[in-house]
């Protein structure tokens, strides 16, 4: 049996990791800065989109010096609202939506770069001949292109939101119109009270990590233009799947299968609770993610300097 050091050795891994990070630092830094710059741009554009609303609040607060921003909102919307409600900075909420939907895009782009060091013969030779195990090399890439981007993305969101908050606070200093994103209460609720919200968010995160794992696998198959090629492959597979389902639906096979599955479930008295169902879904996704990353590892492990499909 192989000893653990033939798979991973902490000292060797750290030397290899340092080498990869330092040799590619310019590229990694420039990509991170681009990601942060895009997030900042979206954040500022979102703020600009709300500027007419801010102007109205600002004007109200100047004209009513003893009022709060909540009073301003109730006064401005009294024609439309029956009950008083508290003020929320809409730009902050819109930014959160952008950050949430931008997360999978960023993760997919990063995952598709996971094996870009195998895109040319020269790069392949340098990667494969480096004195480290293939697992250590894989782990370095996994950390650099899957784990690290998540933290950079979160940091980018905070920077973008801070920038929006600082810049718009300068232009709208009155009252409390510009607010920083604060979802600490929501997170607390999610973790303690709201089971459904917790499961929805976990499902959301796992779905996109699963999508990223597909692109990482794609990158191990097509290190060059992995993003486009994996996307095309996904489209083709989806198209084939949809066509197959349509044919099955037309021929009545879907209805028949549904009835059979329903009958089996009824016979087995399968009465799964929502929480159990969601946990099963999470576990299935985790297995799917693990399979994709494992296949990607073995493809990388068996790599040669020539491309064999």
């Amino acid at each position: 049996m192989k000893s653990l050091s033939t798979i991973i050795n902490p000292s060797r891994f750290s030397k290899y990791f340092k080498k990869e990070m330092r040799e590619n630092r310019k590229q990694l830094l420039s990509r991170s800065l681009i990601m942060i710059a895009i997030l900042c741009a979206f954040s500022l554009i979102t703020g600009l989109g709300e500027s007419s609303t801010y102007n109205r609040y600002e004007e109200f607060l100047i004209n009513h010096p003893n009022s709060t921003v909540d009073d301003a909102k109730n006064s401005l919307y009294e024609l439309y609202m029956h009950e008083p409600f508290t003020y929320n900075d809409e730009a902050s909420a819109n930014c959160l939506s952008i950050f949430v939907f931008g997360f999978p895009i960023a993760l997919i782009i990063c995952a598709s770069c996971m094996f870009e060091s195998m895109s040319t013969k020269q790069k392949k030779i340098a990667t494969l001949m480096a004195p480290a195990t293939q697992f250590e090399k894989y782990l370095t890439r996994f950390f650099t292109y899957i784990i690290l981007p998540i933290f950079i993305y979160i940091a980018g969101c905070l920077i973008a939101e801070s920038l929006r908050f600082i810049i718009f606070s300068i232009f709208y200093p009155t009252g409390d119109i510009i607010r920083f994103m604060d979802y600490s209460d929501t997170i607390k609720d999610m973790l303690i009270k709201d089971n459904m919200l917790f499961h929805t968010i976990v499902l959301y995160l796992l779905s996109f990590i699963a999508e990223a794992s597909i692109y990482a696998l794609g990158s191990s198959i097509w290190p060059r233009l992995a993003l486009l090629k994996t996307f095309a492959a996904q489209c083709i597979i989806s198209f084939i799947g949809i066509v197959t389902l349509m044919i099955a639906a037309i021929s009545g096979a879907v209805e028949k299968s549904a009835k059979t599955i329903g009958a089996i479930a009824q016979n087995l008295s399968l009465d799964i609770e929502f929480t159990t169902f969601m946990w099963l879904l999470h576990i299935s996704l985790l297995i799917f993610i693990s399979i994709n990353f494992t296949i990607a590892y073995f493809r990388f492990k068996e790599s040669e300097i020539i491309q064999r499909m």
Partner: protein, 285 residues
């Protein structure tokens, strides 16, 4: 020691094998020249030795371990200088700082010595170098790693005229009894005085696998215009210094190996060269 055992390799199942049932053993302490025409499989053999390709059959053992396994201990002891390579845009000092720890026998003084041989200092950015300078710096680093096996693919391509003679001195300075250097090239004039052993590949097989001493013991290389000698030669070709001929060495005469003439002889008369060396091997055994 490198043992290539019954190696067969093809780039695709449909294509004919580039190397067919090839077996070679290279002892330690040798500078080995891997010669052949374009497309003969020199670089392929080099990559197979490095474990960068998977053979259809056979294996390559380096100190008893298969190189295809790519064990880190094996990789620490092998360095390959490909014909074309990328270097990061960082200073040499930084490159050494981050790469040298991966090679336990790396010696910084050796690096300085080899760089001096190429008339280079140690304070430059790798991204700012020309291709030839990059090659010199990379080869200096490769030799300074002191790995037991150094593989070089067309190392003199891209080197300037002084660079080629510097290269010969550089290899001679870096050679020891504990290491093997395998040089794959078709530019035989650049390395002919450097080699201890020659492996000549042609049409998927090894035509010649002998030390330079063995070759000069069996063959005489000379330049002559004497028609009688030319007529009796195993091989003759026109050169600027008269006709370059190869004669059988029946009288243990000493001559200097002419690699270009030997190469042409082997390619033109493969059966004759095989016969010459097989007969001698059989007689010896």
């Amino acid at each position: 020691m490198i043992e290539v055992k019954n190696l067969t390799f093809s780039y695709s199942r449909k294509k004919a094998p580039v190397l067919n049932n090839l077996s070679v053993t290279i002892e330690r302490g040798k500078v080995c020249g891997l010669l052949g025409k374009n497309g003969a499989g020199k670089s392929t053999l080099l990559y197979l030795v490095a474990g960068l390709l998977t053979p259809q059959n056979g294996k390559v053992l380096f100190n008893g371990k298969s190189t295809r396994d790519r064990d880190p201990e094996t990789l620490q002891d092998i360095f390959i200088v490909p014909e074309e390579f990328n270097l990061p845009s960082i200073s040499l000092k930084e490159y050494v700082k981050i790469n040298a720890p991966l090679y336990p026998r790396f010696n910084n003084e050796d690096l300085e010595k080899y760089l001096k041989m190429f008339e280079m200092d140690n304070d430059f950015n790798l991204g700012a170098l020309s291709m030839g300078q990059k090659k010199k710096a990379y080869m200096a680093f490769a030799l300074a790693t002191n790995t037991s096996l150094l593989l070089m693919d067309e190392p003199t391509n891209g080197l300037d005229i002084p660079g080629k003679s510097q290269f010969r001195k550089f290899i001679a300075a870096g050679m020891s009894d504990e290491r093997n250097i395998i040089i794959s090239t078709h530019q035989v004039r650049d390395i002919d005085q450097l080699l201890d052993h020659i492996i000549l590949i042609n049409d998927n097989e090894i035509l010649l696998n002998h030390s330079t001493t063995e070759i000069t013991e069996k063959l005489i290389f000379k330049n002559t215009d004497d028609p009688q000698i030319i007529a009796s030669a195993l091989h003759a070709q026109f050169s600027l210094y008269g006709n370059s001929v190869i004669l059988p060495n029946n009288e243990n005469a000493e001559s200097e190996l002419n690699l270009e003439t030997l190469f042409n002889f082997a390619i033109e008369k493969p059966q004759l060269i095989k016969q010459t060396f097989n007969q001698s091997t059989q007689t010896e055994s």
